[in-house]
Amino acid sequence: MEYIIIIISAIFINNIVLAQFLGICPFVGVSNKLSTAAGMGGAVLFVMTIATIVTWLIQTYLLEALGIQFLQTIVFILVIASLVQMVEIILKKVSPSLYSALGVFLPLITTNCAILGVAILTIQKNFNLLEGVTFAVGNALGFSLALVVFAGIREHLDIMEVPEGMRGVPIALVVAGILALAFMGFTGLV
């Protein structure tokens, strides 16, 4: 039950993009087409889960064991950056089909603040490993949901008559605002 609450709250109530403002860059950048949005969502799901497991283990058995928690930011970003590289290399070797689907998105993920954000949040919320993984999967699904819904809307926006100054990013942000308003309806669900 506890795990279901973590997932539901991560996807709908505290949606990582629309309520917590993490991962806005890819949200605005790669949401022009539905297919790229889905690819990015898959890549984030993959990396976010692995990164949360690895950073949780490092925090518990290395940083806390040695009492050097203040190095958290430096260590986490380095771990995530090298992890992304490693995932890229392994994927290329083991599953070329998955690599060709996710490949272009992987380098972008290092600077996706959602990954580092979720890794730090998992520590801040004192989750155990299993709760942390659930939290990461929930957030990744929430990210994918927001991205895919938004991409669907933007495909329609392309053929709309938008005032000149609002074309492109400004109108997309206003639409994201309305989408965030809709997601606020989930508040109090759990």
């Binding site: 950056a81 949040l121 605002g177 965030a180």
Partner: protein
């Protein structure tokens, strides 16, 4: 390009938020009030100036292949310094900005300037570039924070100007997107 231009281009013409659309996560996340926007902007400015300075000083020592990881370590070190300093001297602001302080590490502006400018230019122009970009970022965040605070709670820098309840939605998440959308449209109009 002369030094004055290096400094001023970040403020308006190449404003990182309003024109280049970089660093949108903290822009949306912390701007519930003008003072939060200003605090975040200045913290980022410090990191930007220091990382530009260090990168431009040691750019010839860093092998080309490991330059991005090296930049990240430099940036993360300064972020940690800011984090510890704020925790010690500005605990209230630190609490408000929360997660977004460690996330300065992944702010595309900081790494972007290190890679695109500081690794190719001399120390003085890198310093000025960092300062200009940082202050441009701070300006955009303060402006967005002021708009949201004024429309949402009728106050400016925590001083109540309009009595009563206003459009609360602007302090909440949806208002951030909508206000930023209109601000970008406005800056496009003015920049033309």
């Amino acid at each position: 390009m002369n030094n004055l231009q290096n400094f001023t281009k970040g403020l308006i013409k190449e404003n990182p938020v309003l024109v280049l659309l970089l660093g949108l996560c903290p822009t949306l996340g912390v701007t519930t009030s003008a003072i939060n926007g200003l605090g975040m902007g200045l913290a980022t400015t410090f990191v930007l100036v220091m990382s530009n300075l260090v990168v431009s000083l040691i750019k010839n020592l860093i092998p080309d292949k490991v330059r991005i990881p090296s930049f990240i370590v430099i940036i993360a070190s300064f972020v940690t310094i800011v984090e510890l300093l704020m925790q010690a001297y500005l605990p209230a602001l630190f609490e408000q900005l929360g997660l977004f302080i460690p996330l300065i590490v992944v702010n595309c502006i900081v790494l972007g300037r290190a890679e695109a400018f500081a690794s190719k230019n001399n120390t003085l122009s890198s310093l000025l570039d960092g300062l200009g970009m940082g202050l441009g970022f701070a300006f955009a965040l303060t402006l967005l924070g002021a708009v949201r605070e004024l429309l949402g709670s009728g106050a400016l820098f925590s001083i109540k100007l309009i009595p009563g309840d206003l459009m609360l939605v602007f302090v909440l998440a949806p208002g951030a997107f909508i206000a930023l959308g209109y601000l970008i449209a406005l800056s496009r109009k003015l920049n033309k």
